[in-house]
């Protein structure tokens, strides 16, 4: 058994555990991704509340734990303890199944997300195609959820959101195809659908696809960015759960743990879709200027980044500890915050250690880019009002689709010309 484990660790093997058929490590990666994802969802929950609040000149959760840090924990417990109501005439099987479908699709997408050249559960030959396919399955969950609640408003909400998701999938697909097309401009002339292959193609062509054939890459990225927001029913496209018109979209009848499944699925879908964008256009795990600023010194500098960020976070925490009011009521919170700061500092120090530093490089850059997208989601929510349903469809079909097609053709032409 031991050599089975070691066989993968030997440096000769440069393939993801899935491909190497090594189930043990694949399992380890799956567990790592699950843990990482839940931490990310908890962080997103807190971050979204805080950032949105500060955008709206208010403080956001401050009461539960220092600066509301325990708010996500409180939410999770609340949702677990809340009664899980099953509407009377609802169809029990489908009612129980709908959130599961949505969560399945949201999580299976992560088996092809490449955190590094070898850090992915597996790398399928049809990585991107598989992701699009699975994300289109989540529409089923939404539709069945709306139907199973057996009442007017969820049904209308479900139909609307599925129509929205279906029509934006096409725009998404087109944008992805133009990116894959860029990856095929290498020697043998055939691109690749595998996501690790895509990032390696960007590395080979020494440019992120967002900057390739200058405006085209950016436009394709823009089309994808808009489509992905619509795909996850977020920000300006969050019509299905538009409180002001219909009560609350397809998950009105859900409560307690089932509702939190939808909530969890929404966040992981957001992370998954932005990971596609990062892999396809922003050079997945590549650090910025991998070729322009090469050489020993630059590698060292960039490798210090993970450590620096965590030390910076720790500094912020300690600064806020200093600013905590001296009142005895806040003593526990100050200690808690100081402890949290210490943990961050420790992680920062660990990241400076050379062996850890090299391995963590890829994952760090990938996570930073995805975090950038998360901030964008929250920013959209703070500034944009909601699209009306027909405008939403108009943007999907009459704006994104033609642009997507145009970019695809232009990329092809420029691929041949240059």
């Amino acid at each position: 058994m031991l050599d089975y484990i070691n066989s993968y660790l030997s440096d000769t093997v440069h393939v993801t555990p899935g491909e190497a058929g090594n189930f043990f490590w694949a399992l380890v990666y799956i567990i790592a991704i699950f843990a990482g994802l839940s931490v990310a969802v908890i962080a997103m929950n807190w971050l979204e509340r805080k950032i949105l609040a500060h955008m709206q000149i208010r403080l956001g959760p401050m009461r539960v734990g220092p600066h509301g840090l325990l708010q996500p924990v409180a939410d999770a417990i609340k949702l677990l303890l809340k009664e899980d109501i099953l509407p009377s005439e609802a169809d029990p099987l489908v009612f129980w199944l709908a959130p599961l479908i949505v969560v399945w699709t949201a999580f299976t997408v992560f088996i092809v997300v490449p955190f590094g050249p070898t850090h992915a559960v597996t790398d399928m030959n049809i990585g991107v195609l598989f992701m699009l396919g699975v994300s289109s399955l989540s529409v089923l969950g939404v539709v069945t959820a709306g139907w199973a609640s057996n009442s007017h408003y969820p049904l209308i909400g479900a139909l609307r959101s599925s129509a929205q998701m279906v029509s934006y999938e096409i725009a998404m697909g087109l944008a992805v195809v133009s990116a894959v097309l860029m990856s095929s401009l290498n020697a043998e002339g055939t691109g690749t659908l595998s996501r690790i292959g895509l990032v390696q193609a960007q590395e080979a062509q020494q440019t992120w696809f967002i900057f390739k054939f200058f405006p085209l890459g950016l436009i394709a990225f823009f089309v994808f960015a808009v489509a992905m927001v619509a795909e996850t029913n977020r920000a300006p496209f969050d019509l299905p759960e538009a409180e002001s018109e219909l009560t609350a979209g397809f998950h009105t009848e859900y409560s307690g743990f089932r509702w939190s499944l939808f909530f969890l699925a929404e966040y992981s879908a957001m992370i998954a879709v932005s990971s596609i964008a990062v892999t396809l256009w922003l050079g997945g795990w590549l650090r910025p200027f991998p070729h322009a600023l090469t050489g020993e010194t630059w590698d060292l500098v960039f490798s210090l980044f993970p450590g620096i960020t965590f030390m910076f976070l720790a500094a912020i925490t300690f600064y806020s500890v200093a600013r905590m009011p001296k009142h005895p009521y806040f003593r526990v919170q100050t200690i808690g915050l100081a402890g949290f700061g210490a943990v961050l500092a420790l992680i920062g120090l660990a990241l400076f250690a050379p062996p850890v530093r090299d391995r963590i490089q890829d994952v760090y850059w990938f996570v930073v880019k995805v975090a950038g997208f998360m901030y964008l989601y929250i920013w959209y929510r703070g500034t944009f009002p909601r699209y009306r349903f027909d405008q939403l469809m108009k943007v999907g079909w009459k704006v994104l689709l033609p642009i997507g097609l145009g970019v695809l053709i232009l990329t092809a032409v420029s691929g041949i010309v240059f």
Partner: protein
């Protein structure tokens, strides 16, 4: 004058006739506890898919019988009731009622009282428009403006509280003038507020006016022509946005409005976007008025010589002012006793709400919410 049949509500609730895809129409209720109906308003929508075929408003959930109570209260006792009708613009209600009774008694409020009245009413108009903007934007999905507008509205409410102890239903005026002298530092507070809020209004504009989605959600939504407005008796910003340059403060000046120069912003094509622009301009005009007024508050008494017990002569009077929502009128009939024989309140929201059916027909469900927001109705005033 458009013919009246156009305004018939197409809501034959009895039968649901077939539509194109021979799916029956959908009759759904919006309200009375719907988040976007600004209070207890129930709108029965007749939908063909997303399109609204006709609406019917069911109101009266907040009916407190204010006019009946008036007949059993003396003139001064009825004064606080007036604030509870349009609780968002309570000061204007109070001003309207006090001026109507003063007119009935043929008494003139002293100039200092008139100036204080103008300042407080314009501050109240600002607060009402700010609350309108916050909730209207929230209905259409923009969450952030709500917090900006409520932060600035708080400043106004602080001034009210310092002046007369109450923030919302202020009961600031009495028949014959104002009860409270302005607290020392009133002028400084108001001027500081003016400097504070002027850039804030530009902030709201920055957030919304050029926001593509906001423009798309409001342009050509809830369209109503000037003739239809006049026919339906719609007044206030809704009428001005349809191109009619009419404002009671200019047409029939009351209190001290004669002495200030301000202009009446009007829109051109009477849709939700124009109403938004008109109200934003009105906020700036209010600032102009307050700025002119706060500098020149004349000295002198703040209360006219009004007998302790108010017993106006037998007779009737109709007096109306320009409330933030439109023309707010009081028709008071006195029978010589200390209690009014009849007080009829002509509420702008009640009459403006009647135009909802006309503005929303043929639009989509999401627009019903936007139009209710742009009509700026307050159910306390609609139901009385």
């Amino acid at each position: 004058m458009p013919d009246a049949t156009k305004f018939l509500s197409h809501l034959e609730l009895g039968e649901t006739d077939q539509t194109f895809l021979d799916s029956n129409e959908l009759i759904i209720n919006m309200g009375p506890q719907h988040p976007a109906t600004h209070g207890v308003l129930r709108v029965i929508l007749k939908l063909d898919g997303e399109k609204v075929l006709g609406t019917e408003c069911v109101i009266g959930y907040l009916h407190r019988g204010v006019e009946k109570i008036a007949e059993h209260r003396t003139y001064t006792m009825f004064n606080p009731y007036v604030d509870r009708m349009d609780y968002v613009a309570a000061v204007s209600n109070g001003l309207g009622y006090c001026e109507a009774v003063e007119k009935l008694m043929n008494v003139e409020a002293p100039p200092r009282a008139n100036y204080i009245r103008v300042i407080l009413t314009e501050l109240n108009r600002l607060a009402s428009h700010m609350l309108w903007l916050g909730t209207h934007a929230l209905d259409i999905g923009a969450i952030t403006p709500l917090f900006y507008t409520f932060r600035d509205r708080e400043e106004i409410l602080k001034i009210f509280e310092k002046y007369c102890g109450a923030r919302l239903t202020t009961h600031a005026f009495r028949i014959g003038g104002c009860l409270y002298e302005t607290y020392d530092g009133f002028e400084q507070d108001v001027t500081r507020f003016l400097k504070f809020v002027a850039p804030k209004i530009d902030e709201y504009e920055e957030l919304l006016t050029t926001n593509r989605i906001w423009v798309e959600r409001t342009k050509k939504v809830g369209y109503i022509t000037a003739d239809d407005c006049k026919a339906l008796g719609v007044t206030g910003p809704v009428l001005r946005a349809s191109g009619v340059q009419w404002d009671l403060r200019k047409a029939q000046p009351y209190a001290a409005y004669k002495e200030f120069d301000f202009d009446i912003p009007t829109g051109t094509n009477g849709d939700t976007y124009d109403r938004y622009l008109v109200r934003m301009q009105e906020m700036r005009q209010s600032l102009r008025i307050i700025d002119q007024a706060v500098g020149k508050i004349p000295e002198g008494p703040i209360m006219a010589k009004v007998p302790k017990v108010i017993k106006p002569a037998v007779g009737e009077i109709y007096h109306s002012i320009e409330a933030p929502k439109g023309e707010l009128g009081y028709f008071i009939v006195s029978d010589g006793s200390t209690q009014p024989y009849r007080v009829r309140v002509r509420p702008p929201s009640f009459v403006n709400l009647q135009a909802l059916d006309q503005m929303v027909r043929g639009q989509l469900v999401a627009d019903v919410v936007a139009v209710i927001g742009t009509l700026d109705i307050v159910l306390g005033e609609v139901d009385r």
